[in-house]
C-alpha cells in the first residue's frame, strides 16, 4: 500500500468521526473543537492531493480565523443548559430533513457512479494547487467572480459596522442633558 493511501485512510476516518462528533455532541465547545479537528484533517487530505497551498489556507482561514471567532463567541455568550434547547418536530425541521436526505442521495449517486476512489496524479493536477497558477487563474479566468466576492465581503463589513454602531447613533440623537 502506498503511503498516501495509508494517510488517506487515517485522515478520512478521523475526518468522518469528528464530523459526526460536531453534530452529535451537546456541548458547544466540544462541538467547535471537533470541527477544528475536522478542518485539520481536511487540510491533511488536501496535502495527499499535492495541494499544499489550499491545505494551508484551509488551516489559516477556517481553523485559524473563522473557528477562533466562533469559539470566542461561544465563550462570551455563556450558553445555558443545552437540554432546554431541545424541541419537538417542527415544519422547519421537516424541510431541513427533506433537503438533507436529498443531499445524501445525491452524494451516494455520485460515489456509486465514480466507481473507483483511486485517482491519477498527472503533472497538470500537481500544478493546480500551486500559488502562482491559482493566482493566475483567479486574476484572468475568474476575475469577475473574484471581484464580486470582494464586493460582497465589503457589504458584509459595512453591515457589521452598521449593526455594531447602532447604539452610538441612538446616543447622538438623544438630547444633550440626558447624556450627563
Amino acid at each position: 500500500m502506498a503511503l498516501t493511501t495509508i494517510f488517506f485512510l487515517i485522515l478520512s476516518v478521523v475526518a468522518i468521526g469528528t464530523a459526526i462528533g460536531t453534530v452529535a455532541s451537546r456541548h458547544p465547545v466540544v462541538s467547535a473543537m471537533n470541527l477544528v479537528l475536522h478542518f485539520l484533517m481536511l487540510a491533511g487530505l488536501y496535502l495527499t492531493l499535492n495541494a499544499e497551498f489550499i491545505a494551508v489556507l484551509q488551516i489559516l482561514v477556517y481553523a485559524g480565523a473563522i473557528m477562533v471567532l466562533v469559539v470566542f463567541v461561544i465563550l462570551l455568550l455563556n450558553l445555558g443548559k443545552e437540554d432546554s434547547l431541545e424541541t419537538g418536530f417542527t415544519a422547519r425541521k421537516g424541510v431541513a430533513m427533506t433537503f438533507g436526505a436529498a443531499f445524501v442521495i445525491q452524494i451516494l449517486i455520485l460515489f456509486t457512479s465514480a466507481g473507483s476512489f483511486t485517482h491519477e496524479i498527472t503533472d497538470k493536477s500537481v500544478n493546480v494547487g500551486q500559488v502562482k497558477n491559482l493566482g493566475y487563474i483567479l486574476f484572468t479566468k475568474y476575475l469577475f467572480p473574484f471581484e464580486y466576492i470582494a464586493l460582497l465581503l465589503l457589504v458584509a463589513v459595512v453591515g457589521a459596522l452598521l449593526l455594531g454602531k447602532k447604539k452610538l447613533f441612538l446616543e447622538r440623537d438623544l438630547p444633550e442633558k440626558s447624556l450627563k
Partner: protein, 354 residues
C-alpha cells in the same frame, strides 16, 4: 540503503535534534531572562545553582516536575488537560519548516538542515500554526472555569487575532519582493545580491518594524502581555495550572519567542546566509561541506540570539500598554501602515521592476 529508509532515518534524527534544540533554547532563554533582568534592575540574579547560576533552569524544571498537579474541581477536565499540550505542540511544530543552514552532501545524497525547509508554503505554514496556537490559550482560559483565566484567555485571543492581520500583511511585502513562499528561497534571494547582504530589512524597513511589533503581541510579551497582566488577572490564562502543566505554557511562551526571533532573522536578516559568499568559496569552504553548513548555522544562531536578547531587553525596559491602547495600535496604526506598505511595495515592483 533504500531511499525510503534513508529518508525515515534522516527525518527521525532531524526531529530528535530539533526538539532538543528547542527545549534547550527555552531553558537558555529563561536563564538569559533572569540574568538580563537582574542586570537591568541592578541586581545579581541567580548565582547559587552551578557556576554563575548556569544550572538554574534545570533546578526550575525539577521544581515544576516535583510540584503537585492541582486541577480545579469545577474545571472542564478534558480541555484543561489538552490546552497546555496543544500550546506546546503548536509551538514546537513551527520548527518543522525553519531552515537552520543550507545543506550538506553525504555520499551522493543532499541533506538539508531542517525538516522541510524547501516546502513552498513555509511562510504560510508558520502563520497557520501561530493561528492554531490561539486555541491552546483560549481553551486554557475557558476550561479552568475561573474568571481571571477566562478574561486572560479572551484578551489573548482578541490580541492575537488583531495582530495576526498586520503581521500577515507586513509579510506580504517580503513575499512580493522575493516572489516565493518558501523560506529557503527567501534566504537565497537575500544571499544572491549586494555581496550577500541584500537583506529584506533594507528593502522593507517599514514592514520589518510592523512585523517586529506584531510579533511582540503574538508572543504575548511585554509591552503587550495583557493576557497575563499580574495586577489585574493574577496570572491570566494559566492561573489555574500548576506543576508541569504550567511549565508547558512557560516552555511554549519561550519557544514562541525563539520562533519569532528565528522568523525575524530568516525573513529580514538573511537567515543562515553568510555575507560575501565568494570569499567563503575562495578559501575552500564550498556549499555542501560540513564546515560551510556549520558556519551558516552559526550565522543564523547569532542573529537568533540577538533578537532573543532584544525581546528580553524590551520586556524589562518598556511598561505594559493599556488594553485600549493595544487595540488602537493594532487596528488604527499598524493595520493601515501595513496596507500602505504593501501598496507602495506592489507599485514599486510594477512600475520600476526589482
Amino acid at each position: 540503503m533504500s531511499d525510503l529508509t534513508f529518508t525515515l532515518i534522516e527525518f527521525g534524527i532531524k526531529a530528535a535534534i530539533i526538539i532538543n534544540i528547542v527545549l534547550v533554547m527555552a531553558s537558555v532563554e529563561v536563564y538569559l531572562e533572569r540574568k538580563i533582568s537582574a542586570w537591568i534592575q541592578n541586581r545579581v540574579g541567580p548565582n547559587r545553582v552551578g557556576p554563575m547560576g548556569l544550572l538554574q533552569p534545570i533546578a526550575d524544571v525539577v521544581k515544576l516536575f516535583m510540584k503537585e498537579d492541582l486541577v480545579p474541581k469545577a474545571a472542564f477536565q478534558g480541555f484543561h488537560r489538552l490546552a497546555p499540550l496543544l500550546t506546546l505542540a503548536v509551538a514546537i511544530g513551527v520548527y518543522a519548516v525553519i531552515p537552520y543552514a543550507h545543506y550538506v552532501n553525504i555520499g551522493e545524497r543532499t541533506v538539508y538542515w531542517g525538516i522541510a525547509p524547501n516546502i513552498n508554503i513555509g511562510v504560510l505554514f508558520i502563520l497557520a500554526m501561530t493561528s492554531i496556537g490561539v486555541y491552546g490559550i483560549t481553551l486554557a482560559g475557558w476550561a479552568s472555569n475561573s474568571k481571571y483565566s477566562l478574561l486572560g484567555g479572551l484578551r489573548s485571543a482578541a490580541q492575537m487575532i488583531s495582530y495576526e492581520l498586520s503581521m500577515g500583511l507586513s509579510l506580504l511585502g517580503v513575499i512580493l519582493i522575493a516572489g516565493t513562499l518558501s523560506l529557503n528561497e527567501i534566504i537565497l534571494f537575500q544571499r544572491d545580491g549586494w555581496y550577500g547582504l541584500r537583506w529584506m530589512v533594507f528593502l522593507q524597513p517599514v514592514g520589518f518594524l510592523i512585523f517586529l511589533v506584531s510579533s511582540f503581541a503574538e508572543t504575548n510579551r511585554t509591552p503587550f502581555d495583557l493576557p497575563e497582566a499580574e495586577p489585574e488577572l493574577v496570572g491570566g490564562y494559566n492561573t489555574e495550572y500548576s506543576g508541569m502543566k504550567f511549565g508547558m505554557f512557560f516552555l511554549a511562551e519561550y519557544a514562541n519567542m525563539a520562533t519569532a526571533s528565528a522568523f525575524l532573522s530568516l525573513l529580514y536578516f538573511g537567515g543562515w546566509s553568510l555575507p560575501f559568499p565568494e570569499f567563503w568559496d575562495s578559501i575552500g569552504l564550498i556549499e555542501g561541506t560540513w564546515s560551510r553548513a556549520l558556519l551558516q548555522f552559526g550565522s543564523f544562531f547569532v542573529k537568533l540570539m540577538i533578537f532573543i536578547v532584544f525581546f528580553i531587553w524590551v520586556r524589562w525596559t518598556v511598561p505594559r500598554f493599556r488594553y485600549d491602547q493595544l487595540m488602537n495600535l493594532g487596528w488604527k496604526v499598524l493595520l493601515p501602515l501595513s496596507i500602505i506598505n504593501l501598496f507602495v511595495t506592489a507599485s514599486v515592483i510594477i512600475f520600476f521592476g526589482l
